[in-house]
C-alpha cells in the first residue's frame, strides 16, 4: 500500500484495520479517534512551563532500592548487581552518596526472579 499527500507525493504512513463481529459487539461511539488524538502534536508547552524532570525515562521495568551498610566502615556508594533469572539479563548500577539506586531496562513478561547483590569483588559480597 502506498500513501500519498494531497499533491500526490509519497508519504510515510500506517494503515490500521480493525475488525469486530457486529453480532458479538454492538458498535458505539467510543469518543477516541486517532485523528483527534493527533491534535496533541500541535499542543505546545506554555512558555512559562518549568520542570526539574524528576521522573526518569524507563527503558524497561525499573528497580529502586537503598543500600543499608551492615557497619559504619562500609561506604554508602556501592556497585549493585542486578540479575534476572538464570543470568538471562544482568546489569550493574552505583548507589548515590545516600545509598539509593535506580535501574531501568529489565524486560520480562508475567513474573521473573530478580537477584540484587551489593558489593565489590575485592571485598566479596556485602549483601544479597
Amino acid at each position: 500500500m502506498n500513501l500519498f499527500d494531497e499533491f500526490e507525493n509519497p508519504i510515510d504512513g500506517e494503515f490500521v484495520l480493525s475488525i469486530s463481529d457486529p453480532e458479538q459487539v454492538v458498535e458505539m461511539n467510543q469518543g477516541i479517534w486517532l485523528e483527534q488524538a493527533m491534535d496533541w502534536v500541535d499542543e505546545v508547552l506554555s512558555e512559562t512551563f518549568q520542570s526539574n524532570l524528576s521522573y526518569s525515562v524507563e527503558y524497561g521495568i525499573s528497580l529502586r532500592g537503598k543500600f543499608i551498610p551492615d557497619n559504619k566502615r562500609q561506604e554508602l556508594i556501592q556497585p549493585i548487581t542486578i540479575v534476572r533469572g538464570d543470568l538471562e539479563d544482568y546489569g550493574q548500577v552505583m548507589t548515590d552518596s545516600s545509598g539509593y539506586c535506580w535501574a531501568t531496562g529489565l524486560n520480562y513478561q508475567d513474573t521473573a526472579q530478580i537477584v540484587v547483590a551489593a558489593g565489590m569483588r575485592s571485598f566479596g559480597l556485602l549483601g544479597q
Binding site: 457486529p22 459487539v25 467510543q30 477516541i32 502534536v41 520542570s51 525515562v57
Partner: protein, 174 residues
C-alpha cells in the same frame, strides 16, 4: 578526514550553538514529549471479560522516539478516581498491545482508562491518555445504532465484493 589528519595546535572547536532551539529550554523539552494513545477492542466490556487493548505512542519529535520510554502504565479508574486495576505494558517499536482481565465482581458502570509513562509525569496532565468506557451489566446487550443506508431505485441491489492483497498480489484475506 584522512587517517593521518592532525589538527593544528591552535585549533579551537566552535561549540557556540546559538540556534533558537538550543536557546529556548521550553522548545527543547517540548521535543521530548510523548503521549500514549489506546484503543479498546470493544466500546463496552462485561465483568470477568478481558479488555484487549492496543495502542501506540505519539511523539512530538518522532526522531527522538528511541530515547524515550519503553514502559506504559495503564490504570482503570472508577468515577471517583479510585484505581480499580493497574497493569504495565512494554512498548515495542512505538506500539503496545495486551489485555486486562476485569474481575468478575466488578460493578457495572462508567469507568476511565488512563495510560501514561513515568516520563509523562514531568509534563502537564494533558500528556496522559484518559478515555471513558462502560462496564455493562452481564447479559445486557445495548441496542445498535442503525447504520446509514441508501435505497437504490429499480431494484438495484448493492453487494459488497472485494479482496485484499499484499504488495506482491498474494491474497491476504477472502
Amino acid at each position: 578526514m584522512p587517517l593521518d589528519f592532525v589538527p593544528q595546535s591552535d585549533f579551537v572547536a566552535n561549540g557556540d550553538q546559538s540556534s533558537e532551539i538550543v536557546a529556548n529550554s521550553v522548545s527543547q523539552l517540548n521535543r521530548l514529549r510523548e503521549k500514549v494513545l489506546l484503543t479498546l477492542s470493544k466500546p463496552y466490556i462485561y465483568p470477568g471479560e478481558t479488555a484487549w487493548i492496543g495502542g501506540r505512542l505519539l511523539y512530538q519529535d518522532p526522531f527522538l522516539a528511541d530515547l524515550l520510554s519503553r514502559v506504559v502504565y495503564v490504570d482503570i479508574l472508577r468515577e471517583n478516581s479510585e484505581i480499580v486495576q493497574s497493569a504495565t505494558f512494554q512498548i515495542q517499536q512505538g506500539k503496545i498491545s495486551g489485555g486486562l482481565v476485569l474481575p468478575k465482581e466488578m460493578k457495572p458502570g462508567d469507568y476511565v482508562l488512563r495510560a501514561y509513562t513515568q516520563w509523562n509525569r514531568n509534563f502537564p496532565e494533558f500528556d496522559q491518555f484518559i478515555a471513558p468506557f462502560i462496564v455493562m451489566e452481564e447479559g445486557f446487550i445495548p441496542e445498535a445504532e442503525k447504520p446509514e443506508s441508501e435505497i437504490f431505485p429499480n431494484g438495484i441491489e448493492v453487494k459488497a465484493d472485494y479482496t485484499l492483497s499484499d504488495s506482491l498480489n498474494y491474497s491476504v484475506m477472502d
